[in-house]
Symmetry: C2
Subunit: 401 residues, 2 copies
């Protein structure tokens, strides 16, 4: 008998009516004869409300206490979901992360799953129960409750599917994965399939349907992941291992990440330690940087540019002012209102000329780009925020997304 892990996010279980609707959907699935494991997130804004409550007491809550607090959100969801399933005549059992055997590191608020001991789940499945498990949480070796951080519930679902040798279905509020944002290109086509690599590129470059982390885990354990809409029965998108010649399509998607800030530092003395020192200081201040480019040395000086997000603006100015005091003749420029445009496609590995096609498309249409980086299956540009819609439409049309 196949085992299916169905995961429902916070908006899908936002109130008790929605929980009852999801329960009906689970019942339909169960009637097909599969073993069903359900993973749920906290209802709607519950987690945020709990965090607000903690802020009334302290700005810096102890992370173990915060996990203890946040974990109640999913615990409420599983108990109500289990009640709703029983109300429909199904047998069910609700399990916290610890009860489900999810063992994590003790890195509170961003724990990693070490392993899953599925005996308890399997015993309940053998008794033909729907097993309802709290997403986003687990327990460390000392029995403390931990939470998994961003994308935690998706990660729980994929890890459980891997552990149970089953498939995973992520129910969300979109119909699946699109190569291009339907809000920008209304004719955008939903993808039937996408490879793990492509999905990770899309996710890490701004497509918010699933977190990279869960997709990575799916790839590692070869878990097929369906992304579908919890509100309708559209077919959704399946994320799975694909050969680059499995489909003829070259480009899978175009994503954009707004609010980028490009920082250019000119006339840095060309000694490795100065460039390294700059990036070290950025790291110490926990400033995430993305694309980096550096010119060849000229008169023993180099220019360095990097992109980051606007939130770090003040911190970066402070850092560079200090550096200017120290090194004298450097100059720096901040270029806000930029966006990162990424074109992703597994076909880029085998098909040549894709990159030059894109370069030409952008130039012909007067879209200026400031930086370019490439990976095996993607190419990313820093462009003006105002050009995002235009660029996306041109690319979508050209590559028939």
């Amino acid at each position: 008998m196949a085992t299916v892990v169905m995961k429902f996010g916070g908006t899908s279980v936002g109130d008790t009516d929605k929980i009852v609707n999801i329960a009906k959907r689970i019942k339909e699935k169960k009637n097909h004869g599969d073993n069903i494991v359900v993973v749920v997130s906290a209802m709607g804004k519950t987690t945020n409300n709990l965090i607000e409550l903690s802020k009334e007491i302290t700005d810096k809550p102890d992370k173990r206490d915060l996990d203890m607090l946040m974990a109640t959100g999913e615990q409420i969801s599983i108990s109500l979901m289990s009640m709703a399933l029983k109300q429909l005549g199904l047998d069910s059992i609700s399990l916290t992360g610890i009860q489900a055997g999810i063992v994590t590191t003790n890195d509170h608020t961003r724990a990693k799953i070490n392993n899953i001991n599925p005996e308890n789940i399997v015993n309940h499945l053998d008794e033909d129960k729907v097993v309802v498990i709290a997403g986003f949480q687990g327990g460390s070796d000392d029995g403390s409750i931990t939470t998994l951080g961003r994308g935690g519930s998706d990660t729980s679902a994929v890890a459980l599917a891997a552990s149970l040798g089953g498939s995973c279905e992520i129910y969300t509020d979109v119909n699946g994965i699109y190569g291009v944002d339907p809000r920008i290109v209304p004719s955008a086509k939903k993808l039937d399939y996408i490879s793990y690599d492509e999905m990770m590129e899309l996710a890490s470059r701004g497509a918010r349907v699933m977190e990279t982390r869960a997709v990575e885990l799916g790839q590692k354990y070869n878990v097929e992941i369906l992304v579908a809409n919890s509100h309708n029965t559209e077919a959704g998108t399946i994320i799975k291992e694909m050969e680059d010649n499995m489909e003829t399509r070259v480009i899978t998607g175009v994503t954009t990440l707004k609010d980028c800030l490009m920082v250019s530092v000119r006339n840095l003395p060309f000694e490795a330690s100065h460039v390294a020192d700059l990036f070290n200081q950025l790291s110490v201040r926990k400033i995430s940087i993305d694309m980096i480019s550096q010119t060849a040395p000229h008169n023993n000086l180099v220019d360095v540019s990097f992109t980051t997000t606007k939130e770090y603006t003040e911190d970066i100015i402070d850092l560079l002012e200090n550096l200017k005091q120290e090194l004298g003749n450097i100059e720096f420029y901040l270029n806000p209102n930029l966006a990162k445009l990424s074109v992703v496609g597994i076909g880029m590995i085998s098909q040549h000329g894709v990159a030059s096609d894109i370069f030409e498309l952008l130039s012909t249409n007067g879209i200026v780009y400031y930086q370019v980086t490439t990976s095996e299956i993607s190419i990313s540009y820093t462009i003006k925020e105002q050009d995002v819609a235009k660029a996306t439409k041109i690319l979508a049309e050209h590559f028939e997304l």
Copy 2:
């Protein structure tokens, strides 16, 4: 080093400001050098709100699911309390019932504590931490979360004190135990001490400060229990083992329970099975009955009276109508608007004439009573609800309560 278990109820931790205030109080205590274990209930109306949520899904929630749901209330309290203690510079750890080693029966929603494995608590106390434990909950042998039902948090606190060889302090919203309700007799004196037996009699007869169950556990393990006000520093009342000659007082308290219903059934055929059958049917319908009286048989017929509470009125009428159909000539009368008045005192064991004093006081003052029952240290009367205040005042004055 002495270990003190401090328990705070739902109103004492009703919001984050109150939690911070309680944390300050705990800090003062901790500064005296004791080992501190804190037991907290769910904040204010949290438990009721969670139950309401479940009712939106089903009228008959599965009890294991309901425990899973309700247990989140205390889990929220312990995490916030632990944050508040750390904010004041104390080291602390929050523990769920299971993490604290509280092992219960699997009788969900009304589990009993089987035993406590205090190793985890002791280890944290040894590291000089304040250990904050979720009241009202524990775990059964299969790792399921259970709740202890009515008076659960008091029971958790007393059981933990017993297990740790410490004393117990129950913080509530009254200054301690009064022999008579201060709302009826404003000059009522707070008791400095009370025996477990007297406290149980008072509690089971309507004094709502503590549940009988927790007091009984305190007696079994000889745990001294202080009942005090969480909002002020009044001395409170200590519940402990007392010899009946330890104090000269004869009567400790007078309590009343309103909303009593007296049911009289006349002309029941005097065959054991009919009377037994009546009480069996009451039991099947889960109607709690209190005092029972029966006349001597006359013409092979007996009259039976019993008291219960008004909530069962309809059910009782239905039951007795059926019985009338079956047995023909029985008659029944319902007498609502009655109250149960109980006079409690350990001195009644050794001092004779107390009962007759009370009978005389009631008669002289024109207070009619319908039924009388006695235990070793108490005597209870069914009286008219309208006579409650008068009777209480007369007895309080006579026995100088």
